[in-house]
Amino acid sequence: MAVIRDIMPAFQLLQPGTVADAQKLLAQHDADAWIMAGGMDSFDWLKDRIKRPKVLVDLSGIEELRGIRATADGVEIGAMTRLSEVVGHPLIKEKYGLLAQAAELVASPQIRNQGTLGGNVSQDARCWYYRAGWPCYRAGGNICYADTPVGRNREHAILHAERCVAVNPSDTAPALIALDAKFVVQTPKGRQVMDAEHYFVGPEIDITRMNILRPGFLLMAIQIPSTWAGAQFYFEKMRDRNVWDFPLLNVASAMKLSRSNIQDIRIAVNAAAARPLRLKAVEDAVRGRECSPATGEAAGKLAVQGAVPLQFNAYKIPLMRNLVKRAIGGVQEAAWAS
């Protein structure tokens, strides 16, 4: 069969208006259904004709999945809330600015106007071999084309690579982990609420999926507890182009200080592994210590312990080290910076 790209194949389009209806449809079509949130990831797969769902379930008509609501203990963001709404929401900006910062660095304005928070955290890997439709591990095959003696793997993983060396490209995911967010997932058996970092799955567990969503599952909302509201936040994303580019690495941290000591901290990075990594060892090591460049330095070194570079991505190790360092120890801004 010859291959052709850039024509979206036909599918059934289902546009449920409620979660209950969506669930029924998903149960009915099971593995034949493809869930579309903003579509920014879906359309690539569909237009490349690599994924060919019989049924596309468009969630954009489900009002209950949208919106940002203050709750007794923090805030709940519907999974279908647009990234630009997250960026611009006063409550998010004021108390959970880390998420607003992360969301604002996603791709481009138009994509933020359409892409959703749920879609951003649930997006698939961007490994260029996988996305070319090559039959790699992640596509159900038996090879990783990126980690070979000649593989081009500048964007790939330095940590927790297991057969597949793709990375998770989400910018908001590490921010949500740092904010200790809970993900509310509707499964056919009921509703589950899980810690953000448990939503994501590495290749050692499931090489074809980035998260726990399986057919019939629906990410409903993301709850951010008030625990970290107004904490000292740090988010930095490194990318080649200053817009419309995936992270080469990003870091998100939330820190509570008591005087100059780190009373508590949560820190996560992404694009270093196939799932966003919460750096628990770093958190434990710096908790209680002075918030200083020296602590940052030590934290950075600790963060990259065990990192294994591929042929073209060794830079990610010092990059991650320095981003973690800055997240904790601060940035030395240039005197002339505007």
């Binding site: 069969m1 010859a2 291959v3 052709i4 790209r5 850039d6 024509i7 194949p9 036909a10 004709r49 260029w128 071999y129 070319a132 084309y145 070979t148 000649v150 593989g151 081009r152 500048r154 490194m238 080649d240 182009r241 200053n242 817009v243 419309w244 580019d245 995936f246 080469l248 073209f312 991505n313 060794a314 830079y315 990610k316 010092p318 990059l319 320095n322 981003l323 360092k325 800055r326 940035v331 030395q332 801004e333 240039a334 005197a335 002339w336 910076a337």
Partner: protein, 830 residues
């Protein structure tokens, strides 16, 4: 340090129109969405076509079964290599026949030479059907060895990208053929140290005493530099629509040139060009890739014939990546000697160009010529090889070859300045060409020369406007940030001569200016014709520019590429205007008596000097029709091109027909020059850098249209910056596939990758060798955009960070971390 936005520059002090801004005649349609590009046309019964692309980098179709596809309802025709006409020989204007190159590129092939090469095309009632038909095609390939990297195929037992070899071999009196060039194993010894191996070249030239130059040098540098392969990626893909009527084929496509595209289409279709109507009113960018159209446009034309229905071929962005041309990446090496004052004593240059599998791009040759002009080495040797590879075909891209040569040379100049403790502007200035500067190798003992060069003045102006001295003196390092400033010289060929101008003064008093120039947004399409209005003293509002359709009687026009148009066509416009003026004077003399010299043209009139009787242009046009003969086009000027004569014949009788060939004297080759200044700020902890300021000062002769010029000076600068900052191709070496297929892989610069307040200036010194004094500008800024950014980076980071472009944060960070250059030194496509 952001410099203040430059004051509004004033140009054209002695002109009414030249040097002044005006809304171009295509702008209203563009801004309202009414402008029609190829894909915007609809024809009744239009079919759509999709292409089957090769999955192999080199192979042969060994089994092809179309039956299931053809059996699908809605599938109307399938076009393969067998349906293509044999490529026709071409005949030059001088009547010389150039034999068709049978080993050249075809629109479709059964022996693909790169992954992504079109194999066949399916026409169906819609794209969905065409796509499904393609999926129903059984196709198998025989796999042949492939080569992606020029050095790989130059190795003694390296794979050949084509069955016949890996280079083009020039033959006397016949088209070039593919042959084999292999180097010796020992030639590759320098590769171990990251230096370019320099085996037997294909071509070489030299002048001056190279050995003496190096011997007398205070400093000799020998540097290897690798430049990226970069797609043109015009925003409009090379979509085309074709249909046939009464034996004529009507083709809608985006092309840079209108008139000059016909020849190629005629050759590819093996048809007389009078049977081809090209409609191309708006073209979504070219940058060299659509200079004279593209061969793939014949696919819908031939399919339309086969299916007996109009065919629209929409090209996807990914297809555009494969067939849309790219700049050849260079693996180059320059040894340069410098005197204590920074003056270059000798240059020994070696360039290997990665050509892709088909027709040779001229980049390698141009690189040496530009370096010889721009840096004025008293002695120079140039050697070059253009190597075929199984990668998408290359073609000229803004400043083809010149840009790569400049990018090889600039880091050396900056390094020399550091080692000799010289100011960077000073070292550029001292090596700049000036006046009738010589360039290239000697032929018959004499080297060619430029028409003029005012690059030193450009550096002086730029250094002042950029506040160069202040910037150099400011602190470099603060916090984790380090700042660097860089300058670069740049230039390229900027003009040709000998084309025709043509316009009609109509009986309603309006002037219909026939423009054979393509419309790719540079606005030369109408800018050059401002000369007609200027010379005749007619308000621009009375002029209508007719363009974009070869059935609309256009004059013989230069290729709209290579920065030649402004130069060539202001000359032609000037010549035609002078002819029109002459004819008006003659008509007045015939009408009112006296000699033509006694009459003056101006204020939409021809009138007797010192007052007296006059004819309005409308009256003169009516008179011309009455007079007939040469006045209304029934007798064309003898020396205009036969293409122009055909157009004149069609226009004859419609008014006063003014037409002339540009025969103005021209001593030297025209070049335009740019002095570029850039400032960067690098974060040492991440390697991330921002370009914080940029200034380009252009020496382009007389400024015709300042706003259009600013777009070109800064736009082409950014094109160059893209080469420094991130644009590249990546292949998987195992399968020979392009894996950088998307913009987020190939990384063309975005609006946030460049300073928000860039600056430009133009010297506005007329070139002495052309009547209006204007030269072209499309190509010259490109090398400067890239060179200035690279030099600013090495100013910030030192010489030991990068040895190839683009330079990204990964390069900077790993090299800083290791304390030595960590980039792969020679490998292509990293």
């Amino acid at each position: 340090m952001p410099s203040p936005k430059s004051e509004m520059q004033k140009f054209g002090a002695k002109y009414k129109l030249i040097g002044k801004d005006y809304p171009t005649p295509d702008l209203y349609a563009k801004v309202t969405g009414k402008s029609k590009y190829a894909e915007d046309f609809r024809v009744d019964g239009m079919l759509f076509c999709k292409l089957l692309l090769s999955p192999v980098p080199h192979g042969r179709v060994k089994h092809l079964d179309l039956s299931k596809a053809l059996a699908m309802p809605g599938v109307k025709a399938i076009l393969t290599q067998d349906d293509l006409p044999a490529p026709a020989d071409s005949v030059t204007d001088l009547g010389v026949t150039i034999k068709a190159n049978t080993q050249g590129e075809k629109a479709l092939t059964m022996e693909p030479l790169y992954q992504g090469e079109p194999i066949l095309a399916v026409a169906a009632v819609d794209e969905w059907t065409a796509a499904e038909a393609i999926e129903k095609i059984d196709i198998e390939f025989e796999h042949l060895p492939f080569a992606l990297d020029p050095l790989e195929t130059l190795r003694p037992r390296g794979p050949n990208p084509r069955v016949e070899g890996n280079v083009w071999v020039e033959e006397e009196n016949s088209p070039p053929r593919v042959g084999v060039l292999k180097w010796k194993e020992e030639d590759f010894a320098p590769a171990k140290y990251g230096q370019l191996p320099m085996g037997k070249p294909q071509e070489e030239w030299s002048y001056g005493d190279l050995d003496a130059g190096f011997k007398n040098a205070a400093l000799v540098l020998d540097e290897t530099f690798v430049t990226p392969d970069t797609s043109h990626q015009t925003l409009e893909p090379r979509t085309a629509l074709a249909y046939w009527q009464n034996g004529k084929v009507f083709l809608h496509m985006g092309t840079q040139s209108t008139v000059q595209t016909l020849a190629g289409l005629g050759r590819w279709l093996n048809m007389d060009r009078s049977q081809i109507v090209l409609i191309s009113e708006y073209t979504g960018g070219g940058f060299g890739s659509k200079a004279t159209g593209y061969i793939f446009a014949i696919i819908p034309a031939l399919l339309a014939k086969k299916a007996n229905a109009p065919v629209m071929m929409r090209i996807s962005r990914e297809e555009e990546h494969f067939i849309g041309r790219a700049r050849p990446g260079f693996q180059g090496r320059i040894k340069a000697g410098f005197a204590k004052d920074g003056r270059i004593t000798a240059v020994d240059m070696y360039a290997i160009g990665n050509n892709g599998p088909y027709d040779e791009a001229g980049d390698v040759g141009a690189s040496g010529e530009i370096v010889s002009l721009l840096y004025q080495p008293p002695a120079m040797r140039w050697r070059g090889v253009t190597v075929l590879t199984n990668t998408p075909p290359r073609g000229p891209q803004s400043a083809p070859g010149g840009m790569q040569g400049i990018v090889m040379m600039e880091p050396i100049l900056a390094k020399a300045a550091r080692q000799l403790s010289l100011d960077h502007v000073a070292i550029h200035r001292i090596n700049s060409p000036e006046g009738k500067a010589e360039w290239g190798p000697a032929s018959n003992g004499k080297r060619a020369h430029a028409t003029s060069a005012f690059l030193k003045e450009a550096f002086d102006r730029g250094a002042e406007q950029f506040r160069w001295k202040e910037r150099v003196a400011q602190p470099k390092r603060s916090g984790s940030k380090v700042r660097g400033v860089g300058v670069s010289s740049s230039c390229f060929f900027a003009g040709s001569v000998g084309y025709d101008g043509l316009f009609v003064i109509r009986p309603d008093g309006r002037i219909a200016i026939q423009s054979g120039i393509g419309n790719l947004g540079t606005e030369s399409l109408s800018d050059v014709h401002r000369v007609v209005a200027e010379v005749l003293g007619v308000p621009w509002e009375k002029c209508d520019v007719i363009w974009g359709n070869t059935s609309k009687n256009l004059p013989w026009t230069c290729v709209s590429g290579g920065s030649q148009t402004t130069h060539a066509m202001t000359r032609a416009a000037h010549a035609a205007a002078m002819d029109g003026k002459q004819k008006l004077q003659e008509i007045a003399a015939k009408t009112f008596g006296g000699t033509p010299e006694q009459y003056e043209v101006g204020n939409e009139k021809v009138f007797r000097k010192g007052g007296g009787r006059s004819l309005t242009l409308a009256q003169a046009a009516q008179r011309a029709i009455q007079l007939g003969g040469k006045y209304d086009g029934h007798e064309p000027p003898p020396d205009v091109n036969k293409y122009t004569k055909t157009s004149i014949a069609a226009l004859a009788g419609q008014g006063l027909v003014a037409a002339a060939k540009d025969k103005y004297p021209h001593d030297g080759q025209s070049f335009s020059y740019v002095a570029s200044f850039a400032e960067v700020e690098v974060d040492l902890e991440t390697g991330k850098y921002f370009l914080t300021d940029y200034l380009a000062v252009a020496d382009v002769g007389t400024v015709i249209h300042p706003k259009a010029l600013s777009g070109q000076v800064l736009g082409r600068s950014i094109l160059g910056m893209g080469h420094a900052m991130g644009q590249k191709w990546v292949f998987d070496p195992q399968y020979g596939h392009t894996i950088s297929r998307r913009f987020y892989h190939t990384k063309p610069p975005t609006i946030l990758d460049v300073p928000t307040g860039m600056q430009w200036a133009a010297l506005d010194i007329p070139d002495p060798e052309t009547p209006v004094g204007a030269r072209g500008i499309g190509e010259p800024p490109v090398g400067g955009g890239c060179g200035a950014v690279l030099n600013a980076l090495s100013d910030a980071l030192g010489d030991e960070v990068f040895r190839r472009a683009p330079v990204n944060l990964d390069t900077i960070l790993t090299s800083l971390e290791a304390g030595r250059p960590m980039q792969e030194p020679l490998t292509a496509f990293i």
